[in-house]
């Protein structure tokens, strides 16, 4: 129990930190200790160094900054004694990272230590290098490490092997140098050397095709023999875990075989026997055995088709799935997701069990099972599965409802056999989990409802009934009041009754009650209230007999604390009041049918690039961007024209929405002047409103939060339909395009380029945004020109900016040089890409990308995958 730094001070420090009752107290102790350590460092007494560093490691673990101790690590490493070196290297690995320039200073010490006569010193250096080396260090020290792979002591060989995995990962060009050394390690008997050697081979295979071919040809048989030997080996106490000899080595070997067998029928053939043996003979009553079986199943599924083995693998998963141990069930669900790819039928057989797992008390199991169920859905079972899931939604935990409802919605949207079924299911979801449903989902529902004219009456009645019971579900309320506003007359007159409906009696006053309830409820949010106000205006025309009551409700909103509501209330009141005759005009008619195709394209375009590495289809949309479909939904028709001239307004909007509207203001030349547009509208509506220019700012604000029009006269335009023809005719073609696609950075360019593809936000982080715009050169449908715009969202300048991209084999990518490699704060640079899709029409574009830059002298790396390209590129 004696420690090399049992100097009382370290223990004292730990004790006093342990004695702290509050975080503030702990901070105090740490601050004082850090001050002491700094002072001690300044005195430069070598005897205190290792104790200082041990303390710093502790402080670092607690989460306090310790950079001032970094130089101490270097001094300790350079000192001759082993204990000093050991703590120095440990400090190096804990306190420093490969991005820091201090690290460069250690290269020389490392080089000396790698050549040290004491093998334990060599071991320390290898370990440090393996954990933190940078590409530069890897290049400098690779020859030493290469030599050490053949060192006499196996404990050095194993560390050299793992150190090499880091080196080849950092500098893939060096891979060739290690191929021979790595294959020699596979012949060893020492388990540590074997497991690290196998890891090195695995690493080499993943970065170098020649290495893969080499190991496939020369080592497959040897590896199979090694696996057979340890599988059949006699009891070895040192490596035995629950009757399995070294399960870790088993698993590493199976992983390497997986890479060798994948895509190569001959190699796969060779390993069939041993895989069958492992799959059938491994004890499955302990965790270690199951770990090996699990790995074996994955290997069987990845190598080339050997159908009898796959039956075996699926059976093992079936057994896992019915296991009582939750860990085993979890991995079974995980693996079944991969199994679907080659044997959907076999997985479908377990559907009932999997559905039960969705209802498991364990959140991790539920999550996996839900992912799996959504992969199991097809046209034939969608109704049954959806019913099961919705039934469960009613009783599930509150914190699971968000995930569950999102999945149900995506299943329903994807596989819905008919509109009425879709509407029914969505209504159920909104009723049970309306407050968790994302904006794009209920926007989509409204678009579908709008398009299903024969179901308008049915839908509005169903919504009316639902909202009476589930008035706390915000999104349900929104859809309901929208429908009541649009189709209120169908509700009270029982128009378009379907055979399945029970007749209900709803008076005009009942319908207005629902809307009034929504607008007066204190916890309704701005969007709901705004939608209710619009619905009231529409109802004032649908229900003339109670228009006075409706007017009263509207008038009450004049006192709203929300400026926008106040203003609209005044305007709507004046419409109801002074222009009774226009009630019968087109102003408050139903909206024209919303364009489903445009909405879907817009919706797909606004989905963020999924950066996450876990396999989960993203349904979340950044708040700001979600406003875009709503704008469309409310038929903002001409509003881009109005917004465009005010560049300050556009900037503001850009801030709020997080999208680039900058160029739409530049487009204003192509659109009618602001004044003309406003006059036109005012003419049509023949009401006097304040000049739109004055209102832009406040009203744009509303657009993002509430989704109402961003301009008083436009607000009326929203309600008037069809859109005043004047506007459509005066706007040039480019202008119209701009209307439909106000978020595009350069819409006019696209408009001239044949079929237009909507631009996408390819990637967005807190500091950086990347937008792609597309154009097709005439004559070659396979080719797409992509203009990438990189926008710096941070207040700092990025230097040495570099964008790298990788595409799957069916694509070819050509990158032009970027317009600059320096990205000023809030500025942008562009770069052109040319993508050739050899599977044009069959597969969509996908891309992985990596961006590197220097921020305040530090390297920053961002990575992501872009899979929200528009279809058909």
């Amino acid at each position: 129990m004696n420690s090399i730094f049992s100097g009382t001070r370290l223990r004292d420090m730990i004790r006093s930190i342990r004695a702290c009752k509050t975080a503030a107290e702990e901070r105090g102790v740490v601050r004082k200790e850090c001050a002491d350590i700094r002072a001690s460092i300044n005195e430069n007494d070598p005897h205190d160094r290792h104790r200082n560093l041990a303390k710093l490691m502790f402080i670092h673990m607690l989460g306090y900054p310790t950079h001032f101790g970094q130089m101490e690590c270097l001094k300790l490493i350079a000192s001759p004694g082993f204990p000093e070196k050991r703590i120095g290297y440990l400090g190096l690995m804990l306190l420093l990272d490969e991005r820091q320039e201090v690290l460069m200073l250690v290269t020389n010490s490392l080089k000396q230590d790698l050549n040290h006569t004491n093998q334990y010193v060599v071991g320390l250096a290898l370990c440090a290098l393996g954990n933190i080396c940078s590409a530069e260090m890897a290049r400098d020290l690779a020859p030493e490490v290469e030599r050490l792979i053949q060192f006499r002591d196996p404990n050095i060989r194993k560390k050299a092997a793992l150190c090499s995995t880091r080196i080849v990962r950092k500098v893939p060009d060096l891979a060739e140098n290690f191929i021979n050394a790595a294959s020699s390690l596979l012949k060893e008997k020492h388990h540590g050397v074997l497991i690290t050697g196998v890891q090195l081979c695995y690493e080499l295979c993943t970065i170098n095709d020649e290495a893969l071919e080499y190991f496939r040809k020369k080592c497959t048989e040897g590896l199979i023999k090694t696996l057979r030997d340890i599988t059949n080996s006699a009891y070895q106490p040192e490596y035995d875990v629950a009757g399995i000899t070294d399960p870790f080595l088993h698993i590493r070997l199976l992983k390497l075989l997986r890479v060798l067998g994948h895509g190569d029928a001959d190699a796969s053939d060779l390993m069939t026997d041993i895989l069958a043996q492992v799959a059938t003979k491994t004890e499955s009553n302990k965790n270690a055995g199951n770990a090996v079986l699990y790995e074996c199943v994955e290997t069987i599924m990845a190598i080339e088709d050997t159908s009898s083995l796959r039956v075996l693998a699926i059976n093992i998963l079936g057994r896992f799935l019915s296991n009582r141990d939750n860990n085993i069930r979890y991995v079974a669900l995980n693996m079944l997701m991969k199994a679907i790819a080659f044997d959907d039928q076999a997985v479908q057989r377990h559907r009932v069990t999997i559905l039960e797992c969705v209802k498991d008390p364990d959140a991790s199991i539920r999550k996996r099972a839900l992912e799996l169920v959504s992969l199991l859905v097809n046209e034939n079972n969608v109704k049954q599965l959806t019913k099961e899931l919705i039934d469960y939604l009613e009783i599930s935990d509150e914190d699971f409802k968000e995930d569950l409802s999102a999945k149900i919605c995506s299943i329903v949207e994807k596989f819905s056999p008919e509109k009425i079924w879709y509407i029914d299911q969505m209504l159920k979801v909104l009723s049970e989990a309306g407050k968790f449903v994302k904006d794009d989902v209920w926007h989509a529902l409204i678009v579908v409802i709008s398009n299903a004219s024969e179901l308008h009456g049915y839908t509005v009645r169903a919504l009316y009934k639902a909202v009476l019971t589930y008035s706390e579900q915000e999104t349900l309320v929104r859809v309901a009041i929208w429908c009541i506003g649009e189709y209120g007359d169908l509700l009270v007159n029982n128009v378009g009754m379907l055979g399945i409906e029970d007749p209900i009696t709803v008076t005009e006053s009942d319908a207005v009650d629902v809307v009034e309830d929504a607008i007066t409820r204190h916890n309704s949010d701005m969007t709901t209230k705004a939608m209710a106000l619009v619905a009231l205006l529409k109802l004032s025309s649908r229900f003339p007999s109670i228009s006075e009551r409706i007017k009263d409700i509207i008038v009450k909103q004049k006192g709203s604390l929300l400026l926008e509501m106040q203003q609209r209330a005044i305007e709507f009141n004046s419409i109801v009041d002074r222009h009774k005759n226009i009630r019968w005009s087109s102003l408050v008619e139903r909206m024209p049918v919303l364009d489903e195709a445009t909405f879907n394209v817009r919706r797909a375009g606004s989905l963020p690039a999924s950066v996450s590495t876990m396999a989960k289809p993203s349904v979340s949309i950044p708040n700001g961007v979600a406003a875009a479909p709503l704008v469309d939904l409310l038929d903002l028709g001409s509003d881009d024209i109005m917004a465009a001239p005010s560049s300050s307004g556009a900037d503001f909007l850009q801030d709020l929405l997080g999208v680039d509207l900058g160029s739409s203001s530049a487009q204003s030349g192509a659109t009618p002047g602001p004044k003309a547009g406003a006059d036109l509208l005012m003419d049509i509506l023949s009401i006097g409103t304040p000049s739109p220019a004055q209102n832009n700012t406040s009203s744009i604000d509303l657009l993002s939060t509430a989704g109402i029009n961003n301009n008083p006269s436009n607000a009326l335009d929203t309600l008037s339909s069809p859109a005043p023809p004047h506007i459509a005719t005066t706007a040039s073609a480019g202008g119209m395009f701009d209307l439909l696609d106000g978020l595009s950075p350069s819409p006019s360019k696209e408009a001239t380029n044949g079929p237009a593809y909507p631009p996408i936000v390819a990637y967005e982080s807190s500091t950086l945004k990347i937008e792609f715009t597309f154009s097709k050169p005439s004559g070659n449908p396979q080719e797409t020109n992509v203009q990438a715009t990189f926008i710096n969202l941070s207040p700092n300048t990025f230097t040495d900016f570099i964008f790298q991209a990788a595409v799957p084999k069916f694509l070819q990518l050509h990158l032009d040089p970027a317009s600059s490699n320096t990205l000023p704060a809030s500025g942008n640079i562009t770069q052109n890409l040319r993508v050739t899709n050899s599977q044009h029409g069959k597969k969509s574009l996908v891309m992985r990308m990596r961006i590197g830059y220097k921020l305040n002298g530090k390297d920053v790396l961002e990575e992501g995958q872009i899979n929200n390209f528009p279809r058909g590129l």
Partner: protein, 156 residues
């Protein structure tokens, strides 16, 4: 969505961090195999600990998905051992690894407890160093793991 091939998967690093946390949620040992800033680490540890400690039911499985990590955790007396791995890592094998780690520490400290690790933090790290490098397992024999450490103890 690209179907990730076996080869691409290999680019991942396996074990990304190892944490030992007591049941009050205080970190007692932290070893990261990828670089995170101090703030990121504090935030990550806080989130993970909250998530794992909330799952106190014995029946619940030992895996928690968090951000793009999978956390494999196991409780020994008052101490939680948490290992963050990539999505594709064999979860059951990591559980077995945690057990090996605990057994190794037991063998050295004799029924290891939180205080052993606190007051011998550097030694716990030396053991980990012998077991894991760059996110990969180096050695699985307890004797081989402990021999350099025992050698040092003898020298002093």
């Amino acid at each position: 969505k690209i179907e990730r091939s076996e080869r691409e998967r290999g680019r991942k690093m396996g074990i990304r961090f190892i944490l030992m946390v007591n049941k009050q949620g205080q970190t007692r040992l932290a070893q990261y195999y990828e670089w995170l800033t101090l703030e990121e680490r504090r935030a990550l540890e806080g989130e993970i600990v909250r998530k794992c400690l909330a799952r106190n039911d014995q029946q619940q499985c030992s895996f928690v998905e968090h951000r793009n990590y999978k956390i494999v955790y196991r409780r020994y007396a008052s101490l939680f051992f948490m290992v963050g791995v990539d999505d594709d890592e064999n979860e059951l094998a990591i559980l077995e690894f945690i057990h090996l780690l605990v057994e190794t520490m037991d063998k050295h400290f004799g029924n290891v407890c939180e205080l052993d690790i606190m007051f011998h933090l550097e030694k716990a790290h030396f053991m980990l160093e012998e077991m894991v490098m760059n996110g990969c397992i180096v050695e699985t024999s307890k004797a081989n793991i402990l021999s350099p450490i025992q050698l040092m103890d003898k020298a002093h």
